[in-house]
């Protein structure tokens, strides 16, 4: 409290009484302030005799204008949308996180990411589930936990690429650099799932060494880490005499068999595969001291050998070009299926015009007719065809040809590099020429801005061919009409309908998104009939055996009584949902036979959507009891079932639909989180 000077007497002596909230001047006695706002902690006495502080905790964000009247109003009233979103998000994160067994620290970090995403409006237009999953996966990546995006998509039943897109966007917007996935992280997890028992640790270590070997052999770039893990684990298991079939491994690792086999084949091509198990253990240890030199050195040696032999051959064979060309062609034909990449197209060309066609195809320039290029390409073609031949001759070791056929570009590296040396200017010149041409063309285009069609270069005759003559037109029309009869009928009906409505004057522009059409409430004499009618209306499945359904009705009258009592205690919403779920759990007919009459008010309860739902229920629970005494026909109201608009999707997705879904299963999903789950 600032002590001021009294206005009347100028005295600076002011007495402030907190209890009364007054500020009084001691000199003249005039009251300067009344009802001072006090910010002190006050205490109130409890019923037990203890005292507690008065006040509420208010969060730092949010307006804090919630007047909590009484006890436990629904949290949705009076709170800002932002806090609601965050609360929802927190709940979902915790749910998912617990399913993934993430610790609290990770969950908090994920929630922070989510808060950042919300503040940057990244949740707009995206499903909450996707954003949450992306936040969680971001945490997994930054912390380095062995969770894959596939796990998350499994939990959410969402396409993994959709999740991936959201994740990438989130990472980019939040400027978070997720470190690259190391396949070694997944090994302990997969090893545990494959159940190696005591030897788990050893197998993991072996698999890790294999993975590191693969990394050094550059097998892991551009590949899914799970595929590599699978291959490593399979080999490690076999090394330690565990029989793990490919099927078991792919079940754990979630790649397909083809991928696993391919990885194994690639690994087979590396020199490490030639070592025995003991050697692998030993040599591996040595290599850990001296990593790249061993294989790199070997390879360098081999390359040097190749180059030497190449040089020799080039010298020897300089005079015999034609015979070599023939041989090349033969070899190319034989090895046609092996070659891949850009050079494969050459094997399909005519044998006669081999050089020319190759020349035109190779640089792929827009010019193509450049003399220099043709000459250069011919020269190039000769040399690398020779190279190809010589390499194929030399292909003694199977690995070499295998590697060559799979990666033709790599084995051609040394000769290409040397051959491309003398030829750079031709191609680069050609490229710049074509760019110049393109720019020149752009200037021409500006002439035809006013829309006149520039007819030069267009062959009218050819275009005539594109247009069918009358007879053909007729035939085609008939054919098309026959094919699309249904569509045309629909269109006609639509037009008639619109015309009619126009006449009546109630024609409305049909918006593409229509609200769900309200169906007539079903009137039925027994619950069983009601179900049948509802099912027919909803047209869910023609595969339901209605007889069995009817039988279900008659059985199980007793268990329903017990469940009723157990269920009356909790709150209204839960009541309704639990009763509904009970229906599904105990079979369609069980509950319905006795509960049909009770169901009616309860199911209509949530549709009325009163916040004081529990009052509604408690009032209706006594009312059905007098009704039960009139067993036969209930005329006092139809059984109104909630209509969920997106039911139609269920038809297409699964051929066999569970009973729960038949009863409008979409409602249950949101409630599963709240309840312990029946």
């Amino acid at each position: 409290m600032s002590s001021r000077v009294c206005k009347t007497c100028g005295c600076a002596d002011i007495d402030i009484d907190q209890a009364r909230g007054n500020a009084v001047c001691m000199g003249c006695g005039s009251v300067l302030e009344d009802n001072i706002i006090v910010s002190e902690v006050t205490f109130v006495e409890n019923s037990g005799g203890g005292s507690s502080a008065v006040g509420q905790f208010v969060s730092s964000d949010g307006t804090g204008k919630t007047p909590v009247l009484g006890s436990g109003f629904h949290t949705s009233i009076g709170k800002e949308s932002r806090t609601q979103t965050l609360q929802n998000g927190k709940r979902h994160i915790n749910n998912l996180g617990h399913q993934l067994q993430l610790n609290q620290h990770c969950l908090d970090t994920a929630f922070n990411f989510f808060k950042m995403a919300v503040s940057k409006h990244l949740t707009r237009g995206r499903k909450m589930a996707h954003v949450i999953a992306a936040c969680l996966y971001l945490v997994c990546r930054t912390e380095g936990t062995p969770h894959m995006l596939l796990d998350l998509s499994d939990l959410l039943q969402v396409n993994v690429y959709v999740l991936g897109r959201t994740f990438l966007l989130l990472a980019r917007e939040l400027c978070i650099n997720a470190p690259a996935i190391d396949p070694c992280l997944y090994i302990p997890r997969f090893a545990h799932m494959l159940e190696f028992g005591d030897k788990n640790h050893e197998v993991s270590m072996t698999a890790l060494r294999l993975l590191q070997r693969m990394k050094r052999d550059w097998m892991h770039t551009g590949r899914r880490p799970s595929g590599l893990c699978g291959a490593a684990l399979l080999v490690a298991a076999r090394m330690h005499e565990f029989r793990r079939t490919v099927k078991e491994v792919i079940g754990v690792v979630k790649v397909c068999e083809a991928t696993l086999r391919k990885r194994l084949t690639e690994f087979e091509d590396t020199p490490t595969s030639q070592l025995t198990i003991d050697e692998f253990m030993k040599v591996d240890l040595e290599q850990e001291c001296d990593p790249p030199s061993f294989t790199a050195g070997q390879r360098k040696l081999r390359l040097q050998q190749l180059e030497q032999e190449l040089a020799k051959k080039i010298d020897e064979v300089q005079g015999e070009i034609c015979s070599y060309q023939d041989e090349i062609e033969m070899e190319l034909e034989n090895s046609r299926p092996k070659l891949k990449g850009i050079y494969a197209s050459y094997t399909k060309e005519d044998t006669q015009d081999d050089t020319l066609s190759v020349a035109s195809g190779f640089p792929g320039n827009e010019d193509g007719e450049d003399e220099e290029l043709v000459a250069a390409a011919k020269h190039l073609n000769k040399d690398f065809c020779r190279e190809l031949l010589s390499e194929q001759d030399e292909a003694d070791s199977g690995a070499e040809s295998g590697a060559e056929s799979e990666q033709p570009t790599t084995s051609r590296q040394p000769p290409l590099a040397s051959l491309l040396g003398p030829l750079p200017t031709a191609a680069s010149l050609g490229l710049s020429d074509s760019i110049r041409q393109c720019i020149a063309e752009k200037e021409d285009e500006e002439n035809s801005e006013h829309g006149e069609l520039d007819l030069n270069g267009i062959d009218d005759e050819e275009i005539e061919r594109y247009i069918l003559n009358e007879k053909e037109v007729k035939i085609k029309t008939d054919l098309w009409m026959k094919q699309n009869a249904d569509y045309l009928k629909e269109q006609k009906e639509k037009e008639e309908r619109i015309a009619k409505e126009k006449e009546l004057g109630i024609y409305k522009e049909q918006k593409p998104k229509r609200p769900p059409k309200k169906r007539e409430p079903i009137r039925a004499s027994t619950a069983g009939e009601a179900i049948e009618k509802m099912l027919e209306q909803k047209k869910i499945s023609s595969k339901i055996n209605y007889d069995v359904l009817r039988d279900l009705n008659k059985k199980g009258c007793s268990p329903s009584h017990q469940s009723e009592e157990a269920v009356t205690s909790p709150t209204s919403k839960r009541l309704a949902s639990r009763r509904k779920r009970n229906i599904a759990a105990l079979g369609l007919g069980n509950q319905v036979s006795n509960m049909g009459k009770r169901l009616k008010p309860l199911i209509s309860g949530p549709t009325i959507k009163k916040p004081a739902g529990d009052q509604g229920v408690t009032s209706t629970v006594p009312t059905p009891t007098p009704e039960v005494s009139q067993p036969v026909v209930v005329e006092s109201g139809p059984v109104v079932y909630e209509d969920v608009p997106d039911e139609e999707d269920d038809e297409d997705e699964e051929p066999c639909v569970s009973a729960m879904q038949l009863m409008g299963g979409n409602d249950y999903g949101c409630d599963v989180d709240d309840d312990e789950g029946i």
Binding site: L303, Q437, C438, L455, I458
Partner: protein, 186 residues
């Protein structure tokens, strides 16, 4: 880094997408009936017309907007578009050839070396992104050129951009970055 003139990088253009407008309403049924090589899709509301000579496929909408895809060079795209307009003219529509624009160019290029993608992504964050679980290539977006380059570990790259010049510039820009992260020769 090696200056670009010493290296012959052949950039092969595989697809050019262009759009133009005819400024007149087109009756799709007529086109579907009287044209050969046409596919009519009434649900979507367009007609696909394929030309043989410059091998292109065109999507024709009734509003007069036409998208032309499949050409292998910019002139080819222009030629094909004009051919198409001429064809529509012959069918009886008063077409005008306006607002011709090349929208997208896709080119592929092969580097003579393999590329270490993880290192490349580390050096070029956040412009480059690599997610092996989703796609085997690392993607690099060049904002000022509006071009995207997808880099595969085998050394092949695909470049998409708004026109050929930008595509060539993109390749020139990215070459030094790739050269830094090349793998040791096998």
């Amino acid at each position: 880094m090696e200056p670009n003139n010493d290296v012959a990088l052949d950039i092969i253009i595989t697809n050019v997408v262009a759009v133009f407008r005819t400024r007149c309403h087109l009756n799709l049924r007529t086109i579907a009936r009287e044209g050969s090589n046409v596919i009519y899709k009434p649900e979507v509301g367009k007609v696909l017309m394929k030309l043989r000579k410059p091998r292109i496929t065109a999507s024709i909408w009734s509003s007069g907007k036409i998208i032309c895809t499949g050409a292998t060079s910019e002139e080819e795209a222009k030629l094909g578009a004009r051919r198409l307009a001429r064809c529509l003219q012959k069918l009886g529509f008063k077409v005008k050839f306006t607002d011709y624009k090349v929208v997208n160019v896709l080119a592929v290029c092969t580097m003579p070396f393999q590329i270490q993608l993880i290192e490349f992504t580390k050096n070029n964050r956040p412009i480059a992104s690599y997610e092996p679980e989703l796609h085997p290539a690392a993607s690099y977006r060049i904002k000022n050129l509006k071009a995207t380059v997808q880099i595969f570990s085998t050394g092949s790259i695909t470049v998409t951009g708004p026109n050929v010049q930008f595509v060539a510039t993109a390749v020139e820009q990215i070459y030094p970055l790739l050269f830094e992260c090349k793998m040791a020769a096998r």
